[in-house]
Amino acid sequence: MTATQTQAGLALELDAAPAMLYIIRDRVSTWCRLEGVETTHTDRICLAIDEAAANIIRHAYSGAPGSLRLTGVSLKADDRHQLILTLEDDGKQVPLDTIRPRDLACVRPGGLGVHLIREVMDEVCWTHRPAGGTTLKMIVDVTSLTTPDTKESTHA
């Protein structure tokens, strides 16, 4: 089995503020494009990261100042291509069993973020860090969603 981790990963540390979401989407989009992920799926990945970051701003920090860290690793092994994205905050630890999608049959404003994250990502896991804060790890398989030309060049 061969595995290749791309050299140019994604690493961001930003204020946990709504105005930063625009920058997060821009950076994630650029990184996905460099990794050869096709546009439609890049858009979905940006949406999932936006929703995850917005949840941190609203629930972990409740609008108070704070920071969030986003890292992304591209892993290629045996013709599979996965993106592993990790989002960390130092805010309030929300009980993990309360982080779940709501019933979509109930039409009301809000509560869609977790549903959207789970729809886009193949694996999603929230954990509390002993020192405080929360880590969200997301894995998405983009094997069939990577354009052939870029896939070749990133393997080189």
Binding site: L21, R25, T40, C46, A54, V107, G110, G113, L116
Partner: protein, 113 residues
């Protein structure tokens, strides 16, 4: 680089006797949805004519934007007023599809729906 160019949203409102057209311009996320919400609440106060929210100039929307539009839909339903979303980009339409709200809203290609 986008730093130094904050995400901004403009909301244009065109009211005639027979319809109200609301046209946001810009990306709708947690930073701009409060502005859209305020504009919608003002525009939807009173009146009974059909409402069209034209999303042609909205390249991106997250769940805070969807929540704002659900609120607008609820306001219109209470006032027995039709509300339609028109000219959605594929990217924006996809969030309504993923969240299964594409069957809750009236979504049209143009304002003749």
């Amino acid at each position: 680089m986008r730093e130094g160019h904050p995400n901004t949203l403009e909301v244009h409102v065109d009211a005639t006797d027979d319809r109200l057209v609301i046209r946001p311009v810009g990306e709708i996320d947690l930073s701009t949805s409060p502005s859209l919400r305020a504009s919608l609440q003002t525009a939807l106060a009173g009146g009974t004519c059909p409402v069209f929210i034209n999303l042609a100039a909205v390249p991106y929307m997250d769940s805070s934007g969807v929540a704002t539009l659900v609120e607008a839909l609820q306001i219109c339903r209470r006032a027995k007023r039709d509300l339609s979303l028109v000219q959605l980009t594929d990217r924006v339409l996809s969030i309504f599809t993923i969240s299964k709200l594409d069957t809750v809203f009236t979504i049209c290609d143009d304002m003749n729906c």
